[in-house]
Amino acid sequence: MKGGRWRDRCIAALGLTGIWVLLWGSFSALTFVGGLIIAVIVLVVFPLPAVTYAGRIHPLGTLRFLGRFLTDMVVASFQVVRLAFSFGHVPTSAIVAVKLRAPSDLGLTMTAEALSLVPGSLIVDVDRKKGVLYVHVLEVKSAEQAEQFKEDVLELERRIIRAFGSPAERRIIEEVPA
């Protein structure tokens, strides 16, 4: 447990150092050491609650998730554009509750972030204890379409778990049919 925490801190420090080096735009001993020192100071002064992450990054699942995410984003963006320019049409929408199957903190956050970045869906509220996301969906005309959207969210969760999930989460995802 303690070792895991130190591993997390090292990863955080390296990530902050990476951002620092990117900000300077050149990799040299000075920027690297300076970034490391600042990262350690930041981590000591602003400690964060530990994020429990038991999973492992699966390269194939990650690629699949990223590809689907990008196409989703482009397609949905242009749908919203079309909606914006179809004058005279007032879009109706819906707020649906989606119960995620494997509501770990990280999975919940990743799903919410991915949903937020894809146009047409917007997180209105989150019930963290129950693992329920309340999503506002644009351009929903009937209750069937709302149900269809729930399926889409669960599919997105499945892709995220396949990309980043822990073995236990993957088991839940594979057991319960979508």
């Binding site: 900000l23 984003m73 554009v81 929408s93 707020i95 146009p119 047409g120 019930d127």
Partner: protein, 113 residues
């Protein structure tokens, strides 16, 4: 080669600008705050990404591209946070027009408690 890259860059910049215009149009035209937020926060993200890619294709310098990459990552990480905060505040304030909602399961969940 560089001519082709320039053409792609200009194309991306034009599409990005078009997305920002459509966000403006949607901002004016959509009926309630939550619908407006869809248009306001999302085509923006894609438009910003396209403009940044176009900019990177024009500058073609490692230092500048890393900066642009940081800009893209930061805006993609922070945009959902702002959207979530505003969306939540909007629903609380009763800004979601009930006559435009086909389904509202948040209100149902609230009643059951």
């Amino acid at each position: 080669m560089s001519g082709v890259l320039d053409v792609i860059a200009w194309f991306l910049l034009v599409v990005g600008a078009l997305l920002s215009l459509s966000a403006g149009v949607a901002l004016i035209r959509f009926p309630d705050l939550l619908s407006r937020m869809h248009a306001a926060t999302k085509p923006q993200v894609l438009g910003l990404l396209l403009v940044l890619i176009g900019c990177a294709l024009r500058l073609r310098d490692a230092v500048d591209i890393t900066t642009l990459l940081l800009v893209a990552v930061f805006s993609m990480a922070t945009a959902p946070v702002a959207a979530h905060m505003i969306g939540r505040a909007a629903y609380r304030a009763g800004q979601a027009r009930a006559d435009l909602l086909v389904v509202d399961e948040l209100a149902d969940a609230d009643d059951k408690r």
